[in-house]
Subunit: 315 residues, 2 copies
């Protein structure tokens, strides 16, 4: 079995090809053609860590994938990254392990960023005034970079809790060619931007309904486990279109779950991105609409980006 | 991360040490000190294969383990083994991947065989007249070899469905130093042996109550998923002592499940091997008792044998 490290994976992954594979994965998921058993989770209370194991197989594909992701939040004090991870690619015809992608979580970050790109292609307003970013971490960076092929807008308005994080983000975004506005409040981001990406681990709403400009699109990524929340449930419920990666999962713990639990909207309003990509639903009808994408992360994304990386790495 | 192949793992694993680690794992499991999320499973209908992912963490230990096992039953026609597998060992303090044990399923076979040894130490009659083995596959071989430290008996009576399998098993057991009797019926095994190990994937009872000699111990390993069965439920229910690896799991699909579903016995009669090893229950009180061990396989065994292998391999 081949072992590939993060550097080689980054060198070989073609992001345009990966985007197409991810789209195919979302479509297969929404068509019921993906086996994805329930996620396994561990909590390591003594070391302030957790681990989840996500596995998926797209019916008919040559490989399937097992992903192990860890988050150990005292790691930075030891000089280590908080997040680590790897993906195993196995042959769906013989069961043989084919490759270990020791990507340290990079592929997970990238599949999440490319999902942001995929929804923005269908949901962003035609004229993006400014991109808004909540959060200054790895995903806040990856999202901005992966939005660049979607829009010519090079204005970004960013909010985060840490001054150091904001300063570093400013440098990062400027290096990408952006004019950067650092904001003291999420409200200022909402007032400046009409394509907003929320990337924080917040447990309370950061964006309120009344702040949002007409025609804005918001992609929310942070609510990836129970208890997390970035959007006012009234904001979610009032959107003209609500696209999710997984109706089942987002109903359990995405942004959408809060609006559903509060009785503010019907689950019948939810549309999966795979259904949009298959041409069976429309994500945005006109420039005046407020649209929301709630992305909690599904294992088929891991299977697809791992397949894509493996295909390029084996040459 | 280090990758170790099967050959190196076999060379380094000390079976006596592994046996003690497995005992500690069973004890921890029965004391509720093991995190083991539900098993993930895949079915690959087109290629006649399946995969399961078992993960476990023993509270307080330095590592945790994710195991991927595959069975692809058309593989022999391609010149490949049906079963393959690997174990990932990760650090429970930082989440970092420490080792990939590319054991091709050998560690799973060995932890199962050592579990057979562990129960035989507590449950086999003092005087073993003959060892009885149902099945002629890998586990049938490993069980016999791992029973050798438990008894001085070197008589084995074996039954299997395939003449070629029986002939090969005879050669294998003779090379270990056994006198081998090849039997045409399971009944003949029951009549000859008072320490019997059942290792087949049978879906119907192979051993009937009335055939069993007084004082016999039977270890049944085959019923590792729903629908499998090797023992007459009346035989299970009439045993003087019934030891299981997991009360929860064996009640779902072990030999015990059939007797419970038929209303032949109370679940209160089940005792876990971890409880016996902790000294909180007795597995055999006298030489006249009929005892049964129902081992369905629990993920803590994987975590413990992987830890043990990793400790010796890293030197």
């Amino acid at each position: 079995m081949n072992v590939f490290d993060r550097h080689r994976i980054e060198q070989h992954l073609d992001l345009g090809v990966a985007e197409r594979w991810l789209e195919e994965g979302f479509i297969a998921y929404s068509q019921g053609k993906v086996q994805a058993p329930p996620v396994q989770t561990f909590v390591f209370a003594q070391s302030n860590g957790d681990c989840c194991i996500k596995s998926a197989y797209v019916e008919g594909s040559e490989t399937f994938t097992v992903k192990v992701s860890t988050g150990f939040y005292d790691n930075p004090a030891r000089g280590l990254e908080s997040n680590d991870g790897l993906m195993l690619v196995l042959c769906a015809r013989t069961g043989q392990p084919l490759a270990l992608l020791a990507d340290q979580g990079w592929l997970t970050g990238m599949r999440t960023a490319l999902a942001g790109r995929i929804v923005a292609r269908r949901m962003a307003p035609a004229k993006v005034e400014a991109i808004g970013i909540l959060g200054t971490g790895t995903q806040a960076r990856m999202q901005l970079a992966q939005l660049m092929p979607v829009t010519t807008c090079r204005e970004v308005s960013v909010w985060g809790r840490s001054d150091a994080g904001l300063a570093a983000y400013r440098d990062y975004a400027q290096a990408l060619g952006f004019d950067v506005r650092v904001e003291r409040e999420p409200k200022a981001v909402a007032e400046a931007a009409n394509l907003i990406v929320c990337t924080t681990p917040s447990r309370e709403a950061l964006l309120q309904r009344e702040w949002i400009r007409p025609g804005t699109h918001i992609t929310a990524l942070g609510a990836d486990t129970s208890g997390k929340q970035e959007l006012d449930p009234r904001l979610v419920a009032s959107a003209d279109r609500i696209v999710v990666d997984s109706i089942r999962q987002c109903s359990q713990y995405g942004e959408v779950s809060h609006a559903l639990q509060a009785g503010l909207m019907s689950p019948a309003r939810l549309v999966e991105i795979g259904t949009v990509l298959a041409g069976d639903a429309i994500a945005r009808e006109d420039e005046g609409q407020l649209t929301v994408a709630d992305l909690t992360g599904v294992a088929v994304q891991d299977a697809q980006i791992a397949r894509c990386a493996f295909e390029s790495l084996r040459g």
